[in-house]
């Protein structure tokens, strides 16, 4: 059976070149980077080279990069670390209603601990407005955290403008850039950000490793305690092979970004056109300000998990914002924040394209999709067209 992977926003296949660079650090160069003997120095050098690579990719300095176990940790470190470091200055945090849970839930937790948290709404396309940020800022604001691109609907936020605003007000500004790296240009100076999170496995790197960019001079409290690794901001023996992989992966991700993105966008547009030709379907996310590989559609009258599994039986991998796939009883908070009704949210499908996808992949999806939708609709008590 044909296998078509269209879930690159969930994770990506490790690039072979990346694995090749990692392997020596999974075999002969196994030293602990904190050791001062030759084994340790070899590992240390590899980490510092990876740090340079990440910094170069982001337009940052090497000493501004802190390696973590992923973006979840980088986001938690940011929010808790800033909240604690600046507690004396204020207690107000601004974020958006469509952030990843690693930001959203951490802010909610701080709210319970007594912080004043403003959760900005989004428009029907999932977009945060610059004016809303401006209006929300107070004298007590110590952090603004708005994602660069949304993981479900791909909407790209006006980060540079929000960053400019925060800079003028002297407020640390964080962006979760997990979905953006390798898909759109990400430069910390152009974006006016002070902190930025990323996760290697979203751009053909290994799972379990990420990084936080921390602009020089930005205060951050220690969150974890342990050894002296990563300037004590992230103690624990380093995942050396993972860090090496992250370094190589980001180097490759930002290379030829434009032509890669154009190719993916063309395939995505074709898939979009084909899927929206099925009746009772709807595009979610911003029509233009959207990641090139993202396509989120609602297929009315059917539920997302059934769709995913039906597609999976045909070898096609994608995801959904349906409650049935989220581990909670409610559908995606992102889709709900965009004003979708429950049914439309439950019937959402996210296809996310990557560098390996081909025209044939898209043709195949478009070939099998109509029958799947028809079959599930024929079972649906809410689909009138389905009554015989």
């Amino acid at each position: 059976m044909r296998k078509v992977y269209l879930d690159h926003a969930a994770t990506t296949r490790l690039n072979e070149e990346v694995l090749k660079e990692m392997l020596p650090y999974l075999t002969e160069h196994f030293g602990n980077p904190s050791s001062i003997h030759s084994y340790g120095r070899k590992a240390r050098a590899a980490i510092e080279e990876a740090r340079e690579r990440v910094a170069t990719a982001l337009g940052a300095a090497a000493e501004e990069i802190i390696f973590t176990s992923g973006a979840t940790e980088a986001n938690n470190l940011t929010i808790r670390g800033i909240a604690r470091a600046l507690r004396e200055k204020g207690n107000h945090i601004i974020t958006s209603a469509v952030e990843h849970h690693a930001v959203y839930d951490t802010c909610l937790a701080l709210q319970k601990e007594g912080f004043d948290v403003t959760i900005l709404p989004v428009d029907e396309y999932g977009m945060v407005s610059v004016n809303a940020v401006a209006d929300a800022i107070t004298d007590k604001t110590i952090l603004v955290s708005i994602m660069l691109a949304n993981n479900e609907v791909g909407t790209i936020m006006p980060i540079a403008e929000i960053g400019k605003l925060c800079r003028e007000r002297g407020i640390p500004f964080h962006t979760d850039a997990v979905q953006a790296i390798g898909n759109i240009p990400v430069n910390v100076d152009n974006l006016n950000v002070d902190l930025l999170s990323l996760s290697a496995h979203k751009f053909y790197g290994p799972k379990g490793v990420g990084a936080l960019y921390l602009r020089k001079g930005t205060r951050l409290s220690v969150y974890h305690h342990g050894g002296a690794q990563e300037r004590k901001l992230r103690p624990g023996t380093e995942n050396v092979a993972g860090i090496v992989g992250l370094g190589k992966a980001i180097e490759l991700a930002v290379k030829d970004l434009e032509p890669k993105a154009n190719r993916i966008r063309a395939l995505r547009d074709k898939l979009q056109e084909g899927l929206l030709a099925i009746e009772h379907t709807k595009l979610n996310g911003h029509p233009e300000q959207r990641l090139p590989g993202n396509l989120n559609v609602s297929i009315l009258y059917v539920e997302g998990e059934s769709l995913i599994l039906s597609l999976d039986l045909k070898g096609i991998a994608c995801s959904s914002g349906s409650a049935c796939t989220s581990g909670s009883l409610d559908p995606s908070h992102v889709l709900m924040a965009m004003g979708l009704d429950h049914q439309t949210a439950h019937g959402s499908l996210r296809f996310s394209l990557g560098v390996d996808n081909t025209e044939e992949d898209i043709d195949y999806v478009l070939k099998v999709m109509p029958d799947i939708v028809a079959r599930l609709r024929s079972m649906s008590p809410v689909y009138q067209g389905g009554s015989k």
């Binding site: 599994l309 429950h342 024929s378 079972m379």
Partner: protein, 126 residues
């Protein structure tokens, strides 16, 4: 994630559809949690379920439990059918993933509602 039996009932659901002249219809679930099950019954003079059909909006577990229960109670008396529990349905399918036990395991409730509807209809007719 799902057992073979669940996948079988999801991919080849038994008794999908409506019964035009049903004498009992029951629906449970709501759009919020994302599962809606509707069961149609044709109960005969002897209070035996002669025909049963369902329509379900929901995940694979919801579709499979709906399908399974129709298979379990078709040809049974309504008093026997009422004894079937959601738990039994899940067991007959070889079990369901833990998070699905609550949200998508409602078929016995839908059946119960359909039987109650049948009984109410009967009562009215008398």
């Amino acid at each position: 994630m799902y057992t073979e039996q669940v996948m079988d009932h999801f991919t080849n659901p038994r008794n999908v559809g409506e019964i035009k002249d049903a004498n009992g219809v029951g629906e449970v679930g709501n759009m919020k949690c994302g599962d809606i099950m509707r069961i149609y019954l044709k109960v005969n003079e002897d209070e035996v379920i002669e025909d049963i059909k369902f329509r379900t909006f929901g995940c694979a577990a919801a579709i499979a439990t709906s399908s399974k229960i129709t298979e379990m109670v078709k040809g049974k008396s309504i008093s026997d059918a009422l004894k079937v529990t959601n738990k039994q349905v899940a067991e007959e399918l070889g079990g369901l993933p833990a998070p699905k036990m609550h949200c998508s395991n409602l078929a016995a409730d839908a059946l119960k509602k359909a039987i109650e509807n049948y009984q109410a209809n009967r009562a009215k007719q008398r």
